[in-house]
């Protein structure tokens, strides 16, 4: 396993360098996970991109770095405690002013003239990051021709000259470190592994396409904006319509309108935007319209920490919407689940005429990972939409049935005229204040999800069947837990396993308890201060956790911290 990081000012090309490095590793057959940190600024401010690679089980970032590329002084000083004896630090001393004698740094420092080389080969300093990338390529034992190929792919649109300059800058960086007789950190042979490298948002977008999305309306908000942009771009290749709405209230109501008209529709946002959508959720509930909605969590209250991560919207999402109604809340735990659960969300929403949430977070949807290439072909069918309706106009949109389900009629369908009503309504949709009918319609809506559990993602136990410690997590924490239990079990067999809650509503207590009952020592781990999933579990099962790990400083958990919690007993 190898851990590489580039750190510097926003605007220095950190993200593109990280992506290229990740793809470079993937093209050698390695597994890749990348995690970036950045402030809510466009220029200036400290940005990092960290890429972890290895032959298997790479699901999260690690603390200790094998290679650190520091593009400025902060790139060194803020990351000192991520270095050890084996770390290599690439820094351009002509650019980074530090009192080098006083800086006590672990590892080997290499003065790599990124800026002068870039200036020499391109006439500007803009390719300094490519010099660093070339040097990394050598240090990690990667093949420079593959890097050239990736540079061509990435910058091809900008023209031949840019490609050549960047290739040359990379080659010079590669040769510079090679000439200093540094040994490569690993010996990799190129292996053909059929993988794609993508972010959680991109996986959600692909899942939406596979699930037949037709309409997406949203207002930009970190960390959900890149989903809007991914789908907007997909309009060039797929028969979908993406609307950047005037605000989140507009977005949710447009989505509801499109859904009513028969389009598979979705919106995505983060906490603040989601708050604005809440009245619309209630409208979707009473009108029984399918709705798929992603909340990409970031820390609040209010504008909070816009570019950081959290799991603090759970109870808000569970309870969002006035009046009583049920919803499905799915919490993808990795990139593949972003794909599969989004696809599933569209089917569930239409089949059960209900709203399905994808509760994600910044850590999950803005991190990228290599995963086996998704299957390319998907087929979709429609559910619960009336086609040949009775010619005598006796169709009733909200007919009371034992199951609570009723056929939806889409405008354009003959004999399907009915009222879709935000008011409580009778079977035709006309407003009613009559007590018995009001209660019957509420019951209809509540009971329609009664038998849904077998269609929903299950709680899953990862790791050994029995272990000394069983963690319980949800959402993105799965990424970290996978690595944490590996570390723990490597040291001592059967130390830890974990349960991932895949579906938070409706909550299947018996399924969860079946796994939890076998645990010898239960530890809840989640990214919020008020123990939100823990409360949810207690509400449904009565189970009281005696131990818990909570993090709510905007950062994801680190496997190393979880290990030291267990081995050192403190957080």
């Amino acid at each position: 396993m190898n851990n590489w990081k580039i750190a510097g000012l926003a605007g220095a090309g950190i993200a593109v360098t990280g992506t290229l490095y990740g793809k470079l590793a993937m093209h050698h057959g390695l597994h890749v996970f990348s995690y970036g940190e950045y402030p809510s600024l466009i220029r200036g401010g400290h940005n990092t991109m960290q890429v972890t690679t290895g032959e298997h089980d790479i699901t999260t970032q690690q603390k200790i770095l094998d290679v650190l590329i520091a593009l400025n002084a902060d790139g060194i000083t803020l990351h000192k405690d991520e270095l050890d004896d084996k770390s290599v630090i690439l820094v351009d001393k002509s650019q980074v002013k530090l009192d080098w004698d006083k800086e006590k740094l672990s590892g080997t420092l290499i003065d790599l003239p990124m800026y002068p080389i870039s200036l020499e080969v391109t006439g500007s300093g803009l390719s300094a990051n490519m010099v660093a990338l070339g040097a990394s390529c050598y240090l990690m034992g990667f093949d420079i021709t593959i890097l050239h190929h990736l540079i061509k792919e990435t910058f091809g649109k900008k023209g031949e000259e840019i490609v050549t300059k960047n290739e040359l800058a990379a080659t010079k960086g590669y040769e510079y470190v090679k000439a200093r007789h540094l040994t490569a950190k690993q010996n990799v042979k190129v292996q053909q592994v059929d993988q794609i490298y993508l972010s959680g948002n991109e996986a959600v977008g692909l899942g939406a396409l596979a699930g037949g999305i037709q309409f997406y309306a949203a207002y930009p908000m970190t960390p959900a904006s890149s989903l809007l942009e991914f789908l907007a771009d997909a309009q060039k290749k797929y028969p979908i319509l993406v609307k950047h709405s005037e605000d989140e209230i507009g977005a949710i109501n447009q989505v509801i309108g499109a859904s009513y008209a028969g389009a598979r529709a979705m919106t995505g946002t983060s906490g603040g935007g989601f708050a604005l959508m809440v009245e619309g959720l209630s409208l979707a509930a009473i009108t029984e319209l399918p709705l798929v909605i992603m909340d990409g969590q970031r820390p609040g209250p209010a504008t909070g920490l816009p570019t950081w991560t959290t799991q603090a919207d759970l109870q808000f999402v569970l309870h969002a919407g006035h009046g009583e109604f049920k919803k499905i809340v799915l919490a993808p735990g990795d990139i593949e689940e972003c794909f599969t659960m989004t696809k599933l969300a569209f089917i569930l929403a239409e089949q059960w005429q209900t709203q399905v949430y994808l509760l994600t977070d910044k850590y999950l949807i803005e991190s990228s990972m290599s995963v086996p290439t998704f299957k390319d072909k998907y087929s979709n069918i429609r559910y619960n939409i009336g086609v040949d309706l009775p010619e005598d106009d006796t169709y009733k949109r909200y007919v009371l049935t034992d199951s609570g389900h009723s056929l939806r009629s889409v405008p354009g369908t003959p004999h399907g005229l009915s009222l879709t009503n935000s008011y409580e309504h009778d079977e035709y949709g006309y407003a009613t204040e009559e007590a018995a009918m009001s209660m019957a319609q509420i019951d209809k809506r509540l009971k329609k999800l009664d038998n849904i559990s077998s269609y929903l993602p299950k709680s899953i136990l990862y790791g050994p069947q029995t272990a000394d410690i069983t963690f319980v997590c949800w959402g993105s924490t799965k990424l970290v837990m996978q690595h944490a239990i590996n570390l723990l079990n490597q040291t001592k067999k059967d130390t830890a396993n974990f349960i991932q809650l895949g579906c938070l509503a409706p909550f299947d207590s018996s399924e969860f308890m079946e796994l939890a009952q076998k645990a010898k020592r239960l530890v809840m781990i989640e990214g919020n201060a008020l123990h939100q999933a823990e409360s949810l579990i207690r509400e449904h099962t009565g189970l009281e956790f005696k131990e818990r790990l909570n993090r709510y400083d905007g950062r994801p958990f680190y496997a190393e911290d979880i290990v030291s919690y267990i081995t050192g007993g403190t957080k």
């Binding site: 309409f215 797929y238 209230i249 109501n253 529709a265 935000s422 949709g429 407003a431």
Partner: protein, 280 residues
Amino acid sequence: MNLRTPIFPTWCPGCGDFGIWGALKMAITELNIPEEKLVVVFDVGCSGNMADFIRVYGFHALHGRSIPVAEGIAMANHDLTVIVVGGDGGLYGEGMGHFIAAAKTNVNITVLVHNNQTYGLTKGQASPTTMEGVITGSTPFGVIEHPVNPLGIALTAGATWVGRSYAANIPLTKDLIVKAVKHDGFSHLDIFQPCTTFNKLNTQAWFIEHLGQLPTDYVPNSKLKAWEQSEREDKYPIGIFYETNKVLPFHKRLPNLDKGTLISQFPTSVDLTAAMSEFK
């Protein structure tokens, strides 16, 4: 065309909603659209209560949010005729942002505003069009602001058809609704309407005195002239203020809708190869 529902209107006697209701039904009949191809989205208010009194594909939305629902419908299926029915409170107050955005988008919907210059359903508080000085439940010292000029806002925001009518003039209202619906783009018809219960200023008698005509030689092709007319307060002209077909409606500007409506392109089969290529 059977536009009747089993429910008889619950509006107060003399309410202008009756006139607009009648005019709308006449317009629908005259337009002769197949009944399944028409959707009316109702806002929440006395005006929106029409949802129960007219047999159409209806959507009774949230207060102030009828326009974005209508937009979503029109975007998903531009073969439908989509009409919004709402009050001045919902459409110029709570939902003013959506009104402006929809006009800018020039999505092909027709917005009918029952402008009774009050919040009818919540019992007479001031609305954005209530006149200065009027004492209401929420303005005990009289409204201190000058009312908005909704036609001016529509023009500025980019509406491509803007008109005003008066509820008691049913033939004119019917005519203007027909024209507004036939217009390919965002059309906005503001309809003055007495609220017999709560608006004691803008009564039938007041309207007879204050309504006027557009100049006899008026041609509704200039935004500036239309705006000038919309600002008049000596007399409030009725008629078509502005119309243009130079701006393409939303659905004609998107290549993805050239092949047909969005809903007609349901992806029964999807190939992700193209979307995944950038992740290789």
